[in-house]
Symmetry: C2
Subunit: 231 residues, 2 copies
């Protein structure tokens, strides 16, 4: 790309719109909100999808536990050890796994996904996000975005709990069942905390019997069908 | 852009790197961190710069009070009224203007800017960010980014306080002086709270005597010089 000529250094009042940004990137900025149980396969599909989109020239960015839980939504311990917060501020701002902390976790993710989608990107989020209320709040901030409504595409990864529990890649179900049996419980989604499935998701995937490739293709075709990634 | 052929739906282990994303967007993802007093002109330059970059085909995105303070970093009141939070959670997570709230405000902005820059964008932040420690923490998370170090370009908008105070576009200095005279004080940067200028900013701008166009051009030339926006 050549140097910007000084004659091109002009601007007008007001903000760049969401549509203008998408046009530059040859796509419609939007958020793909994956939701589903632990072990449902949502992160596998989300990560593969991100790569496929980028490889095919689309600006897509996945927000997941890796880049969010250890950064924006760090727990108190990380805030103290890695960020140098005082104990008081770490206790106040750090996020754990209580109900209100989970809600705040999803709220911040919704806000950040909206900023990415407003910037014209395909934002991909991959979190259990078990409560309908929290997902609906994320949808609302997209639909009421100041520089133009942003498509919020909810993708329910509806793998049955029996399949998720049998896979149990991190041994979390086992832990949760043991905790429950011992009378303590740990508030684990699907075991002793509810998962509220979306009522009208834009797409439903069941990862029990399909290959990741087929599932990614299903999402890609849906994005093409909605005009997100075709010119 | 044509349909993605199913043969292109393949991926590999691991994440897309920061460099790969920048390559797709024909630029180097980075953060331009504007810092300076209230009324220094930093937001005017930042907003004009964002438009000029987008107009010239670059994916740039500005984080400012408008899209951050009313979203990700809402105050308690907004959390209750617009987001439906309980009073307790709004009090805990909502950000006001105390020292620890300001620190958390800048911390979250640093984390989000890093995500944008990691996605290959030119992230532009425009906040007073008066404390060196907080700006240095934002720099550190960029330099230690997991998928590759991200350039953190600190731009000190060094307009003298006399000029800022004379402009006083929102009447805030007047308010702060009155509060100070009445013996209460409001912890306003430059009046009764310190502004710690960067020791080694990548660029220093003084908006007292130059046109916005000249200042934007100065930033653009610096970005070209650093290879951020030339192929």
């Amino acid at each position: 790309m050549a140097e910007i000529p000084s004659t091109q250094v002009t601007w007008h009042e007001g903000s760049v719109t969401q549509a203008e940004r998408g046009k530059l990137l040859k796509q419609k900025g939007c958020t793909l909100w994956f939701t589903g149980l632990s072990g449902s396969g949502k992160s596998t599909v989300a990560m593969a999808l991100e790569q496929v989109l980028v490889k095919n020239g689309h600006a897509a960015y996945a927000l997941d536990g890796d880049n969010v839980r250890f950064g924006l939504n760090s727990g108190p311990k990380t805030l103290i050890e890695a960020r140098g917060n005082s104990e008081a501020s770490a206790k106040r701002f750090g996020l754990g796994f209580s109900a209100e902390d989970r809600e705040e976790n999803i709220r911040r993710i919704g806000e950040v996904a909206k900023l990415f989608a407003d910037a014209g990107l395909i934002a991909i989020t991959s979190f259990i996000s078990p409560y309908r209320k929290d997902r609906d709040a994320a949808r609302k901030i997209h639909e009421t975005n100041k520089t133009g409504a942003i498509p919020f595409i909810e993708i329910h990864v509806a793998t049955p709990i029996e399949v998720c529990e049998q896979r149990d890649p991190k041994g979390l179900y086992k832990q949760a069942r043991a905790a429950l049996a011992s009378g303590k419980g740990m508030g684990f989604t699907g075991v002793d905390d509810p998962y509220e499935p979306p009522l009208k998701p834009e797409l439903t995937l069941d990862c029990s019997n399909k290959s990741t490739q087929d599932l990614v293709l299903e999402v890609v075709r849906m994005l093409e069908h909605r005009g997100v990634i075709t010119a």
